[in-house]
Symmetry: C2
Subunit: 468 residues, 2 copies
C-alpha cells in the first residue's frame, strides 16, 4: 500500500466514482426494494462493467444476472460495493466487503446516528477503518456519474431529469438537497461531472471529497452542500489548495441557531458558529451561496464563462425598464457600469437607429433584432473599458426570435469576456432559454440572480489574481 498523508487517506475515490465492476448488496427482484431500484439503474442504464447482485437469500439469479449469497463468493475484483441492506446487518456486510478486498463502498442504508443509533454508526466506522477502502455514507444517495453510467440513486428515475455530461460536480451531505438541486442542474442542461451524496460521512468526508474533486480533470466547478465539517484544519488546508485550481460554490445548512438545531437531528452534524465558517469560506476563496438556487446559478456561470479581468459591466438590452432595474441590481451588488470608449461610441452611433442613446445601459429599443444585438455585442466585446457583459433579451418583443438566441449563443460561448443573459417570461421565453442554456450560455430569470452570479465570478476572479 502506498503511503498517504492522513488527510488524503480516503481521497482516492476512483473505484467508487467510475468502477469497472459493481456488487449490489441487497439486490432484489422486489421492485419496492432499494436494491432493486439500484440494480435497475445499472441494467437499464447501460452500465458497461461487470455487475454482481448479492443477496443472502439469492437462489441463482437476480434480474436475470448470476447472483451471490455474499460478496465473498464473487471471487473476482469488485471496484464498488453498494450496500442496501437493513441497518443492523450493515457492519457484518461491510466487514465481508473488507475481507473480499472490495476497493470502495457506498452504504445507502439509513437508520444510524440520524435517528439516534449512534452505537451502530460507531460500529460501522470501526469496521470500515480496519480496511483501506474508502466508504461513503451511510444514510445517503451515493453516486451519479453520467460518464461511467454509475448510479446508486434509489429514487424513481422518471422523477429526476437525465444529466448531460459536463463539468459541474455536486457533493451534498443531504440527500434531499442533493436530489432536488441535481434535478435542477440536469433540467437546465449545464452538464454534470460527478454527483456525490455522502450522508453521515463516517469515513469519507468533506475533506476527502474536496481532495478527490480537486484533481479530477472532468470537474470544472465544485458545488457543495454541507451541514458541518468534522476536520476543520484539514478542511482549510485542502480548501486553500482547491480554489487555486477551480471554483467552489458552497452553502452551509444550519447557519441560524434554529437551523442548526434542525440540522443536528437531520444528519447528526455539529454545525458550529456560522460566523467562523463564513470567515473560513471567504479566506479560502469559496463562493458562498445564500440560497439553494444560488448553487445552480453560480455553477452556470462558473462552468461556462471565463474569469473576469475587472468589474466594469456593459448592459445591452431590448427593454429600457429592465435595463434600469439591472443597473440598480449591479450597483446594489457592488459592481458598476462601464463607460464606453470613444471608438465604441463612434462605431455604435454609425450603426444604431437615431432613437438609441449611445450610453450604458445600451437600450436597443423594443424592435431590436439579432442584427442590432450583434452590432452592440461586437462593440462591447472589443471595448477595453468593458470587463463583462449582461445581455437582456426579452423575447416578448417583435425582433426577438431563435435567430437572436443563436446570435447570443455565438457571442456568449466564444468571447473572452464573461457574458450572461437575462430573459424573463412564459412559454416562448422558456423555450429560448432552454435553447441558449443547452448550448452553454448562462440565462437568468431576474436581474438580481444575474447580478449575484456575476459577483460570485468577479470575486473569485479577484481571488485568483485576475483582477488587480
Amino acid at each position: 500500500m502506498i503511503f498517504m498523508p492522513e488527510n488524503k487517506k480516503y481521497a482516492n475515490l476512483e473505484s467508487i466514482i467510475h468502477p469497472r465492476s459493481v456488487a449490489v448488496i441487497g439486490a432484489s427482484e422486489n421492485p419496492d426494494k432499494v436494491g432493486h431500484i439500484i440494480m435497475g439503474n445499472y441494467v437499464d442504464g447501460g452500465f458497461p462493467g461487470k455487475l454482481y447482485p448479492v443477496n443472502i437469500n439469492s437462489t441463482g439469479t437476480i434480474m436475470g444476472i448470476k447472483s451471490y449469497k455474499s460478496v465473498l463468493d464473487v471471487k473476482a475484483e469488485v471496484d464498488l460495493a453498494v450496500i442496501a441492506v437493513p441497518a443492523a446487518i450493515v457492519p457484518a456486510v461491510l466487514d465481508e466487503c473488507g475481507r473480499a478486498g472490495v476497493k470502495g463502498v457506498v452504504i445507502v442504508s439509513g437508520g444510524f446516528a440520524e435517528v439516534g443509533n449512534v452505537d451502530l454508526q460507531n460500529e460501522v466506522e470501526k469496521v470500515a477503518k480496519r480496511y483501506p477502502m474508502p466508504v461513503i455514507g451511510p444514510n445517503c444517495l451515493g453516486i451519479m456519474d453520467p460518464r461511467s453510467r454509475n448510479n446508486t440513486l434509489f429514487l424513481p428515475s422518471f422523477k429526476i431529469d437525465k444529466p448531460k455530461i459536463g463539468g459541474i460536480s455536486f457533493a451534498s451531505q443531504s440527500g434531499a438537497v442533493g436530489s432536488s438541486v441535481l434535478d435542477m442542474i440536469n433540467h437546465e442542461g449545464f452538464g454534470l461531472a460527478r454527483f456525490i451524496s455522502y450522508g453521515n460521512a463516517v469515513v469519507v468526508d468533506e475533506v476527502d471529497i474536496l481532495n478527490y474533486l480537486m484533481h479530477d480533470k472532468e470537474t470544472k466547478v465544485i458545488v457543495f452542500y454541507i451541514e458541518g465539517v468534522k476536520r476543520g484544519k484539514e478542511f482549510m488546508e485542502v480548501a486553500r489548495e482547491v480554489t487555486k485550481i477551480k471554483p467552489v460554490v458552497i452553502i452551509k445548512g444550519g447557519i441560524t441557531e434554529a437551523g442548526a438545531g434542525a440540522a443536528h437531528s437531520h444528519t447528526a452534524a455539529l454545525t458550529g458558529s456560522y460566523q467562523a465558517y463564513e470567515a473560513v469560506f471567504r479566506q479560502c476563496g469559496f463562493s458562498i451561496a445564500s440560497d439553494l438556487k444560488d448553487l445552480l446559478n453560480f455553477a452556470k456561470i462558473f462552468s461556462t464563462q471565463p474569469l473576469a479581468t475587472g468589474n466594469r459591466i456593459a448592459i445591452v438590452t431590448n427593454g429600457g425598464g429592465t435595463g434600469v432595474i439591472t443597473t440598480d441590481a449591479l450597483y446594489k451588488s457592488g459592481l458598476k457600469l462601464a463607460t464606453l470608449s470613444k471608438d465604441s461610441e463612434t462605431s455604435l452611433r454609425k450603426v444604431m437607429p437615431s432613437i438609441v442613446n449611445i450610453r450604458l445601459p445600451l437600450d436597443l429599443a423594443g424592435d431590436a433584432d439579432d442584427k442590432r444585438f450583434g452590432d452592440a455585442l461586437n462593440a462591447v466585446e472589443n471595448d477595453d473599458n468593458v470587463d463583462a457583459i449582461v445581455t437582456i433579451a426579452l423575447f416578448q418583443t417583435p425582433g426577438a426570435d431563435s435567430k437572436l438566441a443563436e446570435s447570443l449563443i455565438h457571442f456568449g460561448t466564444q468571447m473572452k469576456k464573461p457574458m450572461v443573459v437575462i430573459s424573463m417570461g412564459g412559454s416562448f421565453t422558456q423555450a429560448h432559454k432552454a435553447i441558449m442554456e443547452s448550448a452553454g450560455l448562462p440565462v437568468y430569470g431576474s436581474p438580481s440572480e444575474a447580478a449575484s452570479s456575476l459577483v460570485a465570478l468577479i470575486d473569485y476572479s479577484k481571488y485568483r489574481g485576475k483582477i488587480l
Copy 2:
C-alpha cells in the same frame, strides 16, 4: 359633468379598461403595422363590442370591417380610442378624439419625451387637458383586460402566454418590464385582473391608476412598476387609502444613482431620492419588491392566501436538508419557527413512523406520501401555536406524486392560515408545480423566495392590524 376632486379627475378608467366600443386609429391591412396587430387582438380575440377601424387612407373596410377616415366620422359612442399613428400627428388625432366625445384614449405611439421630443409631448398634454377624457400614454403598451377581451398590446401574441382571469392587477410605467412580468404572471396561471402599461403618463398617472384599482372589485392585489412619481402629495394620499383595502406590491426603477440616470433617458421621469421613496412606501403599507421576480412571487401569495395572524411558522418537509435551509431562510428574514402544542405532539406521535422526530421543522422523511403529509398538515392547521405553514414537497422522492399535489391543493386553498409550498427540480417537479399553481397554491422554487414572500404577507398583515 360630475365634479371630481383634482386628484381623482382621471380616476374613472372604466371606458378604457372595459369598453363596449373601440376605435383603432392607425388601423391597417399591413401586418407590420402596430395598428394591424391591435386590430387583430380584437378581431381574433373575440372582442364582443363594436369595433371602428380608423385610417386617413381608408377606402371602405379594414380587415373586413367598415372603416373611417377620422374618428369624427364614426358618429356613434366610442368608449375607447387607441391611437397608433406617427408621433407628429398624435396631437391632431387626439384633438379629434376629444371633439368626437370619445370617453377614453390610449396612445401607444412612441417618439416623445423619451427620445427628447419634449415639446411634442407638451403639445399632447395641452390637447388632452382640453377634454374630460382620461388619456393613457404615450409610449406605452396600453391595456390587457381578459374579462372584457380588451387588448391594445402590439406584441406578437404567440410570444406572451394567455392570461387566466383572476385577481392580480399589474401597472407598469415600462412596457418591457410590463410585458415580461405579465408573461410570467400568465405563465404561472395565477390570474390577471387588469394590465396597464402607462408609459410617459402625460395625463393618467400613478395616482389615477391607484385610485381606479383601489375601487375595482376584480382587483385583489395591485402590482406596480414605477420609475418616478409626479404628484407626491396626492400619491401618498391615495396610497394610504388603497392599502387599507388591498395589498400593493411595488418596485421602483432607478434606486441607485446609475439606475436613476438610465431611467431618465428611458421614460424621462425624475426619480428622486430612493431613501425618500422607500420611507414613503413603507409608511403607506406597500410591499417593496427588491427584484422583478418578487413582483410575481409576492402577487402569488397575496392573490391566493389569507392574511396572517402572527409570524410563527410551521415547516413540514419530506427533505431534511431543505428543512434546515428553509429554517435558516425564515430566521434571516425575521420570522421564526412555531413550537408545536402538546396536543399536536401527542396526535402526531400516534400517526407518524418512529423515525420522524416530532418537532419543527417536521421532517416526514423521504418516503412520506400524501397520507403522511395530510396527517402533518391537519395537525399544524389546527394548532393555535402555528400562524402560517411552509410545506416543502420534493417530488424526486418515492412518495411524492400527483396525489400529494392534490392533497396540498386541498390544504393550501381551504385552510384559514396562509400556506406556501417549496418544490425544486426538473420536469417532473415543474409539472406538479404547474398543477398546484393552476389550482391557486403559491409554489416557490427556493427557500429564500418562499421566505421573502411570507415576510411580505406578514408585514402587510401587521400593517392591516391582523397581528398585534
